[in-house]
Symmetry: none
Subunit: 300 residues, 2 copies
């Protein structure tokens, strides 16, 4: 199963021209050679990618899928290489930050703004990812800082010597849903009914999903929930909650606006909430002037 990236680019050319001869010309080889390279690619992948039975040729179903991946892989390679080649001049003055998805959408831009002129000259690259990937990115030096949640269940275990962190904000996980016409929550947690409560859930792998699972587990009352919707990201649950599809536990931070406007309401009192922090992490093994400077200022 060995590839050459040439083959991938060949395949992209073939997909766009829908013709072996045109694509061959585009790739500066003769048509027979080109045909053979596509054949090599198909052998390497192990499936037929092109339907040659009629002209102009079509991609097979598998070919169409592979096209998407090929595009992604080729662009990833190009990106990697150009970034690597321009490493010494550029890389030093760009601050790369990984943030949990839900923070990237709302809190991160606000926070950045609150830093004011501190970050005006700095070029920032934010990558939104799940918490697990963010930790890897931080450890591998792919990012300089990481902005994630930290909950009282200590779901995230990082050595504070290697990965020191700054506390940025206190918020909490709260159960919310759409209000009825009187502004009261559509669903209740404490007054049980015969019907199970429609539950908007995080997928099991998601960081906040673990938090919610632990919250529910530690609570004395066992709820009857029916998962009607499942997604990895808080923003997905928000959209569904706004439409009245059920109850979702959300970081309060993500729904400030919706709560203020009365489009979402908290379901019950404090007993169904759990505190949640936003923390900023760095890795002491990485030594980048811009990071050190920013960290110093943030600690005050």
């Amino acid at each position: 199963m060995d590839f050459e990236t040439r083959w991938l680019e060949d395949f992209l050319a073939l997909a766009s021209t829908q013709s072996f001869s045109k694509a061959a010309e585009k790739r500066h080889v003769t048509q027979p050679a080109f045909s053979r390279r596509i054949k090599s690619l198909e052998e390497a992948v192990g499936v037929l990618l092109v339907d040659r039975t009629r002209t102009p040729i079509n991609l097979t179903a598998e070919g169409q899928l592979f096209l998407i991946s090929a595009r992604s892989i080729v662009s990833q390679l190009h990106e990697t290489i150009t970034r690597l080649r321009g490493l010494s001049p550029h890389q030093q003055d760009i601050l790369e930050v990984a943030a949990a998805h839900s923070l990237a959408f709302t809190f991160f831009p606000d926070w950045l703004n609150s830093l004011g002129k501190l970050t005006d000259e700095i070029s920032i690259r934010l990558v939104a990812m799940n918490v697990e990937d963010a930790v890897h990115a931080l450890r591998d030096g792919q990012c300089d800082m990481m902005q994630v949640y930290y909950d009282s269940y200590a779901t995230l275990q990082l050595d504070p010597v290697i990965f020191p962190s700054i506390h940025l904000l206190d918020t909490s996980m709260i159960p919310v849903c759409k209000p009825d016409l009187d502004g009261q929550p559509l669903y209740s947690l404490n007054s049980p009914s015969d019907e199970p409560i429609p539950f908007l859930s995080y997928t099991s792998g998601a960081f906040l999903g673990r938090t919610v699972r632990l919250l529910l587990k530690h609570h004395p009352i066992r709820l009857r929930l029916k998962t009607v919707y499942e997604t990895a990201m808080a923003e997905g649950l928000k959209g569904m909650a706004l439409q009245g599809h059920g109850i979702a536990w959300m970081p309060k931070l993500c729904i400030e606006r919706e709560l203020a406007e009365g489009r979402l309401v908290a379901c019950e009192g404090d007993e169904w909430q759990t505190p949640l922090e936003v923390r900023l992490y760095r890795c002491t093994l990485v030594n980048k002037p811009i990071v050190n400077a920013l960290w110093k200022k943030l600690k005050t």
Copy 2:
């Protein structure tokens, strides 16, 4: 700049063994051949990846970064191929829908709501993912339907016989930014200034990133843009745009509320916009009663 994936796997072996000879053995080639392959890789990348001046050898700083990318690319390739070669089973009574991240947050819940009672009895599981993964999920039967964008550049090439689609909505990609106090855009595309325009960009692999790239490429005017921020998802750009950090091309659909409230404004006229559709796809190769029924009703 041509690669063989062998080289990438060679590099992974070298990184883990920290020895040319050990790695060569692991890869079933002689040490000289192996050394030459690593050299080829370094030439292709254009950067020295290994520090050979002492033993045991170390990766250079660039090598360590490349290692991360190489891992990712190799695993992506393996994943792609194994996914392409075999299909996986799925549940019968739950409708699994994959949606592009930006649609999952806003449009999908609205759309689901608009279907009304049609979907009340159905258990729905939404998974937000990037377009590439969504296409794979659709083909592999990991999901039953896929809700993604479709642009006029035909970035997504899917055979309508195997992957029929329903047109759900017309929207467009429009450049937006924060308004000034008079409600006028902070930045202008048509009146050039000395300063390059701060640009909130999609990462190159992202689907909408491709759309924007093609839009900029096909436009007669070449803009001077300075990428100050980069992320894979539209919602991330929105947050930054709201804070006035630059211009972002966004699906209008994602920012209806912000436009209505005047928190974001379109940067210029139609010439910098491109139409964008929201489409719902299914795969005819998968036969699931619940999907067939819903599809039938949707087509009316």
